[in-house]
Amino acid sequence: MVELVAGTTGKLVFLVTFIVLFFYFVNRTAQGHKLVIRRIAGFDALDEAIGRCTEMGRPVHYTFGIGVLDANVLASFDVLSYVAGQCARLNTDLIVTNALGEVQMMTEEIVRGAYVNAGKPDEYKADNVRFVSNIQTAYMSAILGIFQRERPGANLMMGPFYAESMMLAEAGAQIGAIQVGGTGRVIQVPFFIAACDYTLVGDELFVAGAYIARKPIQVGAIYAQDFGKWLTLVLVVLGTIMSTAGNSAINDLMKK
């Protein structure tokens, strides 16, 4: 016997539609159709930031924020993998700070893997992938200390950020680091915009795998996301017009 939870029918319909679109576009890319993604300045700036560190002889700093292991962190792994690979190729030190115990081992694996793929496994420095603390203020203090003592030339912040976003971004700006910030926690985006050189807004962080690695399957998934956005926009506009005209059909559907 199958019984739905009350109030979830609309969400289930939306999810199923999204999954259908997802498979449709993943199949299209698998069949060789070329799908294009617009340029995202935040990702394009990564090479500039790492190159600047190489020229200045300073390390790159990368951190995930204090939130839990969620889609933000999973998307951030793709960026970290790319950054670590570039640092390995350019012989630039990479310092990764972590507040999530459960992510520490994955982070070490990703950075080590990038150095191995770049053909420089001996260059990997295990002590540069650091768990600092899962307590927000201790995490911030540890990174502020790293900024003052090790003077990174680039500060890359991608993941689930909370109040630490402002402090880390501004402290990074004060040591002259080029900064790229990205988070799916929309409430923190204004702080990154105010203090960072480049900011990934809204869903931009979540296209990292597709944009940086150009994996066809992931590019297909991004198209499904964009169609999801259009679908949402149509529902919002239609719902507004119908509600104004006194018809609550779309409102009722979303509440079901």
Binding site: L4, V5, L15, F18, F22, L69, D70, A71, N72, L74, A75, F77, A84, G85, N98, G101, E102, V103, Q104, M105, E109, I110, G113, N117, A126, D127, V129, R130, F131, N134, T137, A138, M166, M167, A169, E170, A171, A173, Q174, G184, R185, V186, I187, I193, A194, A195, V201, G202, D203, F206, V207, G209, I217, Q218, A221, I222, Q225, G228, K229, T232
Partner: protein, 209 residues
């Protein structure tokens, strides 16, 4: 071993993710909800154990610094002594012990508040840089920022009561619309990443495959 490293984590993700998503939508069969809860409890347990790995990393990194007498190695002693002594105090005396609470209340809490208070200065300097009217967008940010600030404090109302009304309009109409737009985009992005993980298409977390 190859199966353990490559396939098992993906299949665990596929099974756990699918069951947790199904439990959001279906009451029956009851087994789905129970299994989803079971997976989520395991998530908490595993995260707690993972913290031990984090503490191990802290001790290893700072232990190496002390051993090699790297720059600022004296700070590493502070970290190692602080971590181990408080851990031992908690394990031996227990979390309800007076000494354990005293250290928390008189060392951690004021230090924590001090670090947080610095945020006010960082916020001010960030606002100063962001509000410089270098181009049209920055000028717009400056104007709306000043209006919102004046509309939020008593002196703004005393200067001109209209500040409060304009601030309310800025916060409720353009600000809310933009934030909701970004939220919808982020939510779809989260759905996309989650689906890729649940379907085993996203493997970045398995070591950059």
């Amino acid at each position: 071993m190859k199966i353990l490293r490559a396939s098992l984590p993906i299949w665990l993700g596929v099974i756990a993710g699918t069951i947790v998503i199904l439990a959001l939508f279906f009451k029956q069969p009851t087994g789905i909800g129970t299994t989803a809860n079971w997976f989520m409890q395991w998530n908490v347990i595993l995260a707690s154990f993972a913290l031990t790995l984090g503490a191990g990393n802290v001790l290893r990194v700072h232990g190496n610094r002390i051993r090699l007498k790297s720059s600022n190695w004296g700070y590493s002693w502070v970290t190692v002594i602080g971590l181990t002594s408080y851990l031992l105090l908690g394990v031996i005396a227990g979390r309800t012990n007076t000494a354990y609470s005293w250290v928390f209340d008189n060392a951690y809490t004021p230090l924590s508040a001090t670090v947080f208070s610095i945020n006010a200065f960082y916020l001010s300097s960030a606002c100063y840089r962001a509000f410089r009217a270098r181009n049209g967008h920055a000028a717009l940010l400056l104007i709306s920022g000043v209006i919102v600030m004046l509309g939020s404090v008593g002196i703004g109302y005393a200067i001109w009561p209209g500040f409060t009304e304009i601030k309310t309009w800025i916060m409720n109409i353009p600000n809310s619309s933009a934030m909701r737009g970004m939220n919808i985009g982020a939510a779809l992005g989260i759905m996309g990443v989650s689906l890729r993980v649940v379907m085993g298409l996203e493997r970045g977390h398995l070591g950059g495959e």
